[in-house]
Every structure is written in C-alpha cells, then in structure tokens.
C-alpha cells in the first residue's frame, strides 16, 4: 500500500456514491429502538420506488441525539428524521421525489444541540459506515498515518502532540505529549501501546460510541502513537459489556490488516505494528492503568503502586503507553491539521474539544462534542433543552463514581479540567448526568458509594474498609438513625480514604459524598434523627464488619 493506492481507494468510493444518501444510525442506542428494521424497510422502499440507482441506504454510526432514535438523515437535503418507524419508510422515500413532507417527525438541525458542536473526535460519526474501511479512507482516513510515517520523524510527531496541548481524555488530564515523550525516551527492545476502552463509569458512553461509529480513527491514532514512541504491538482493552463495539473493532482490525495499514512495513516504511483486542470481564478498577495491565496479562485486575509508571515498567515489564479512546481519536486530526489549529480551540490550559454523554433528567439525551470552556449552562439548558416536563436542574453529576455533584448555582462554570476540579468534581471521561428536584442527594451519594464499595478490589485497606464504613454511615443517615456528629465522622473518613488509598478508585471514591456534603448539606441534616431519639441512635454507633467478598 502506498499513498496513490490509498487515494485511489478513496476516489473509487466517492465515485460509487449515489446522488442521494439515506443514513440510518445503527449504533447501540438506535439499534435497541429497532433501527435495523427501519433500515431494511427503507431499502425495500427504495427498491420498490425503482430508485436503487440514485439512492443509497447506509448504516452509519452515532448521530448524537439518542433520545430521538431511531434517527434517519437524508443527504444532500440535510434533513434529519427522528423516532422513525418502519411505517414511515415509504413516505420518506416518496418525499425524495415529490418533496411532500414525510410522515416521520423532522428534527431541527438548527437547534443549539447541533449548531454549538465542534466535531473533531466525532467528525465522521454518523456520516460513514463504521464497517467499511473504504468509507473511512474516502473521508481522508489513514492519510495522517502516511504523513507521520513517511514525512515526519518520531520525535516530530511527539513534538506536534506536545505543542497541540492535548491532554488525556480519560479524566485525569495528563498532557499526552509529555507521556509520549517519556515512553519514547526509554530504551527497550519492546514497547507496547494500550488503548483504554474500559469505560466503566456508569452514565458514560462516549468511548463506546466512538468505537461503534469510527473504529478506524482509534486504530490510526494508535498506529501514529506507536510510530512516535517506537512500539510494535498494541492492545485495545474493551469492556465485555459492549458487544457491538467489540465486533466492529474486530472487523476494523481485519480490514486494516488486509490492506496493509496494520501489520508489517506499513506504507512501505520499516514500521511494523499489530493490534490485538482484549475483552474486559466487568471490573471497574480495570480502568486504572496498572490494574488494566494486570488484566491484559490474564490476572486479577489489582493496581500496584506507581512509580514505576507504565512508561518505564508496563506490560510484562516493558515500557507501555496507555491512552484513552478519545485521546487516540484526536491524534489523526492533529497530525492532519497541525498543532496550532488544535491549540486554538478551547481554553488556555485545556485545549481542543470534549465529548460528553448527556443523560438523566434532560430533554435531549445523547452525545455532544463541544470546545473546552463551554459553560455547563450552555450544555444543559441550550443544547440539552433542560429538564423535561418543566422540572428544574438541581445538580449535574460529572465524572461518575469518581466525580462530584455540581449544584445548579455553579452552572455558569466553563467546562475544563481545572474548573471542574475546583468545584470538587472531575472532568472524568465525559459522563454528564442531570438531576432534578426528585433526586435526593444523599440517595445519590449512597448509590455511588455502594458502587465503589462493590468495585473496590480489596488490595488496600483504606479503600476496602473505608468505602464499606462510608457506605454504612450513609445508610445510617438515610434510615434516620444518624446524629450531627456522624456527618463530621463521614467528612473525616472521606478525607482519610481520599488521601491514603492506593489507586484512583479509592482516592476519588469519596468525591460524590464530599461534594454533596459541601453543596447539599441541608439534605443530609434533614435525615438526622430528632433530639429525643439522639441517645438511642448514638448507642448504635458500632459499625459492622464489611461484607464478605
């Protein structure tokens, strides 16, 4: 494979395109709303209308507006239909010829949900067929890889990423270029690249969507990273709960290998790179990099102390670069458009865009990609359309069990790594759950602590025992058996667990409790037992042993 052949594939694909393209979302959200049957009925309707020569029906990745699924878009008219049923198909096809309105409801492409987005990671999402590499190549895919391999030195690639200001999208926000530089510097006969697709945060589905909608983009990002740091093998560690993402990745890897875009001497350069899949088995802690590596090695996913960092001592003891799906998905765009282009987007310290998964009590649920620094109010109220049925936003939860609840009065905060940390939450991987007045914050804290208690791997005491004790105290509060002193104990215990746990899971597990204590303390106090019952409650201060695991 050389550049001419690559361009030819893209050109051939573009020429084969018919004048009208009907795109049907076949990502997981729409699929469970019967999108596959809608696609079939559209294909039948096109054939029956004798339009097969001019109209193509294509299955594409996520279009973002999951609450409107199944979604169908028509090019070049630029029409988006939502909640399409199989019965709507003939009228959608008839509308192509007559111009008469179809029976399906049209969504408004001029809504802020669409207009305020800046798609970089999601640029192909919902446009190309994720199961056809030719479609990705026609969208200029794999050209950045060629550019990197043939026209740049590994050091230049690292410099470009550093200059772009890209930071890890897994949540912690470590500068990506710095990480690549560390791995590149270490001398070793073998190095590995790992793509962390163990999206364990409940309420987050950005990575799943990227893998289902544009898997080649992630593979290309990994290959560029491998060239930059000198690695020859990569792993994608993907959650077992995402069967569709797994199958599309398998297809993508097979296609790339067949075209010589993965494998030996890629683009006739001395660079070899292969990618293997590793399927997770349901352990939240495996999102932590050292635990994830343990799991790839076939062991229990328990973290180990750092340093040594994976950059020096990773998989099987070799230097390993671990980045999140979204981080890798940014790489081809940065190589294509340059570091300066990327650095112009976003805020001073947080560059580029971020994909968020909007869910919970919000009108427009789905995926959005906005520049860093967009305010929460813009995202929730303008783009998300606020709480349905006239409800009021009470809090926004970001970062899953590791994040916190941001109160409604802080909605004008710009979204970037530092601002969210300042509010006691984290950027996290991008889950954003809106809560309204019906959601009790003590309940929410209890829910997350139950999650962390259950997911604690049990290796270090602060996390194993601490999360159980915090959970117990929260149960006590909820059952009305707690006294004011218990809230102070809760606060101190949370701080202790945060400061002394071994890995990110324990260090961040108290965040939902601490942030709700900080902003919604009256809700905790409302549960406290009345003074006359205080003596009785206080006598029951003995905490039971953590549950057997």
């Amino acid at each position: 494979m050389d550049l001419t052949e690559l361009l030819e594939i893209g050109e051939k694909e573009r020429q084969a395109e018919r004048s009208i393209r009907i795109r049907v979302c076949v990502a997981a959200g729409c699929l469970s709303a019967n999108a596959q049957a809608v696609k079939q009925s559209l294909e039948t309707a096109v054939a029956e209308a004798g339009l097969s020569d001019s109209v193509q029906v294509a299955g594409v990745g996520c279009m973002g507006l999951c609450s409107g699924g199944p979604l169908v878009a028509v090019d070049p008219e630029n029409i988006l239909y939502e909640k399409v049923t199989t019965a709507d198909a003939p009228s959608i096809v008839a509308a192509l010829q007559s111009g008469a309105p179809a029976t399906a409801r049209q969504a408004d492409f001029n809504h802020p949900f669409f207009t305020k987005q800046v798609p970089i990671v999601l640029e192909n999402s919902g446009k190309i067929d994720p199961e056809r590499i030719e479609d990705y190549i026609a969208a200029n895919g794999y050209q950045p890889l060629y550019h990197a391999l043939r026209e740049m030195k590994p050091g230049d690639v690292v410099d470009t990423i550093t200059k772009s200001g890209l930071r890890g999208r897994g949540g912690a926000g470590y500068p990506t270029g710095l990480k690549w530089g560390l791995v590149a510097k270490v001398k070793s006969e073998r190095k590995f690249i790992v793509c962390n697709a163990d999206e364990g945060d409940p309420g987050a589905f950005m990575d799943r969507s990227v893998l289902e909608s544009d898997p080649h983009r992630v593979l290309e990002g990994m290959a560029i990273a491998a060239y930059a740091v000198g690695a020859t093998q990569g792993f994608v560690y993907v959650r077992g709960e995402y069967p569709l993402a797994i199958s599309r990745l398998q297809t993508a890897i097979r296609q790339a290998r067949k075209l010589g875009l993965l494998g030996s001497q890629i683009f006739e350069s001395p660079f070899d790179f292969r990618i293997d899949l590793r399927i997770g088995a349901g352990a939240f802690v495996c999102g932590e990099e050292t635990a994830l590596m343990g799991s790839i090695e076939g062991k229990r996913g328990t973290p180990r102390p750092r340093p040594p960092y994976p950059a020096e001592h990773g998989l099987w003891g070799f230097p390993t670069l671990i980045n999140n799906v979204e981080t890798f998905a940014n790489v081809p765009a940065i190589i294509r458009n340059g570091a300066d282009w990327f650095a112009k987007i976003g805020t001073e310290k947080s560059k580029g865009t971020k994909v968020f998964a909007l869910a919970g009590k919000i009108q427009n649920t789905g995926l959005i990609e906005v520049p860093m620094g967009t305010t929460l109010r813009t995202i929730i109220e303008e783009m998300g359309g606020g709480v349905p049925d006239g409800g009021v936003v009470k809090a926004v939860q970001t970062g899953g069990p590791s994040g916190g609840c941001i109160p409604a009065q802080a909605l004008d905060t710009p979204v970037d790594y530092e601002s969210l940390a300042g509010l006691g939450s984290i950027m996290g991987s991008g889950g954003m759950i809106v809560m309204d007045q019906q959601n009790n914050m003590v309940d929410v804290a209890h829910f997350f602590m139950e999650f962390c208690m259950d997911e604690s791997c049990g290796k270090c005491v602060p996390c194993r025992a601490g999360t159980a004790q915090i959970h117990h105290l929260l149960s006590k509060v909820r059952e009305g058996r707690a006294v004011a002193q218990d809230l102070d104990t809760l606060d101190r215990l949370c701080t202790m667990v945060k400061q002394t746990s071994l890995c990110g899971l324990g260090q961040s597990a108290p965040n939902p409790v601490l942030s709700t204590l900080r902003y919604f303390r009256p809700e905790y106090e409302a549960f406290l037992s009345k003074p006359e019952g205080a003596a009785e409650a206080a006598s029951d201060d003995r905490v039971p042993a953590p549950p057997a695991r």
Partner: protein
C-alpha cells in the same frame, strides 16, 4: 514448563475437592479430559486454548470462551482450564471470581438484566429491580428455584440515552417502566414463552 505438582498442594480450597489432582498434561500438549465430558464444547474449549498457545496470559480470553460454551464456570471446568494453561487452580479460581462477568452458578433459562448505571438509576432503575424481585419472587443476582429466569443488575450497559434500560435475553430495550418489564417477565414465568421483545 511448570509441573502439574505446582498446584497439587493442600491450600487450594474448594476446587481441590473435585480436582483431578493426579491428571498430567500429556507430552504432545493435548489436555486430559478427565472430569469433563468429551463433547463438542470441550473440543472447542481445547481448540481455544491451543489457539492461544496455552499461554497463561490468555486465561481471561479462555474463561470468556468457556462461559460462552457452558453458560457458567463450574469447578471442574476451572480445573480443566488450569491444567490446560498450566496454572494453579487457585489462580484460575481467583480470576474467575474477581470479575463480575464470570458466573460460577448456572443461570436461568431466561435472563433479565436491569441496568443500574447512574442515568438509569436517576430514572428509576431501582424501582424496576424491586418490581421484578417482588413479582418473580427472586432476589437480584439470583435464579428462580424453577430455573425459569435469573435477575441480574448491570453496572452500566452504556445505553444511557434510552434510560432506564433492561436487557431481556440479550436484547436491549430502553425507556422501560415497571409494567413493561413485568409484562416480559410474566411470559417467561407463566407460559414458558420464549418471546423476548
């Protein structure tokens, strides 16, 4: 090559009770089938281990295959895998019990998985679980005594856009209410119906 005797110790706990402790790997890399019926499933499992060149790293992949084939991982199966990959059964048991995905108990004929991710939770997933528990008289994480169905809670299936979501025999359905879930479950329990969606 590690000798089989490495795991032939007194500390192995429950697994050893049914272990074929004296079984030895045959010289040509074939795995003894003692304790596990030599059927097609066993052949496919053996092939999966061979494909991974009997490497210890492949343990999780092999456990995935085994669970796919047998539905759950019983102790004999774990011992068989331990022999194949030349690992101590304690290690295999440790890994199998660490990850939520692996089940050491048989599942019911039907499974109802209620997603308890945050988005589903704030939209009432806990009520869904409670309703099914009360209706089907089965506790979450367990199987009905007649084996007709298992009720399972998932961490998050990533279908947050259509919360609350439930997976009925592998089919994801969104925007569920207590009534809609009970309607599905009712068919399984009362009529032995196989209809899922």
């Amino acid at each position: 090559m590690l000798s089989v005797s490495r795991w032939d110790g007194p500390t192995q706990g429950v697994i050893m009770a049914s272990a074929t402790a004296t079984a030895k790997t045959q010289g040509n890399g074939r795995i003894p089938t003692k304790g596990l019926a030599a059927d097609n499933r066993q052949k496919m499992l053996a092939a999966a281990m061979k494909r991974h060149q009997y490497q210890a790293d492949a343990l999780i992949e092999v456990l995935h295959t085994a669970q796919e084939l047998y539905g759950y991982l019983d102790p004999e199966l774990l011992v068989y895998i331990a022999q194949g990959l030349k690992l101590p059964p304690s290690r295999v048991y440790g890994v199998a019990t660490f990850y939520h995905f692996f089940s050491l108990k048989p599942k019911g004929r039907h499974t109802c998985v209620v997603c308890m991710g945050t988005a589903c939770y704030v939209k009432g997933a806990a009520t869904l679980v409670k309703t099914v528990e009360d209706y089907a008289k089965v506790r979450s994480g367990e199987t009905r005594s007649d084996g007709s169905m298992s009720l399972i809670q998932a961490r998050c299936i990533g279908a947050c856009g259509i919360a609350p979501a439930v997976v009925l025999d592998g089919v994801v359905v969104g925007n569920q209410t207590p009534d809609s879930v009970v309607t599905h479950v009712k068919g399984w329990i009362e009529n032995g119906s196989d209809r899922t969606a």
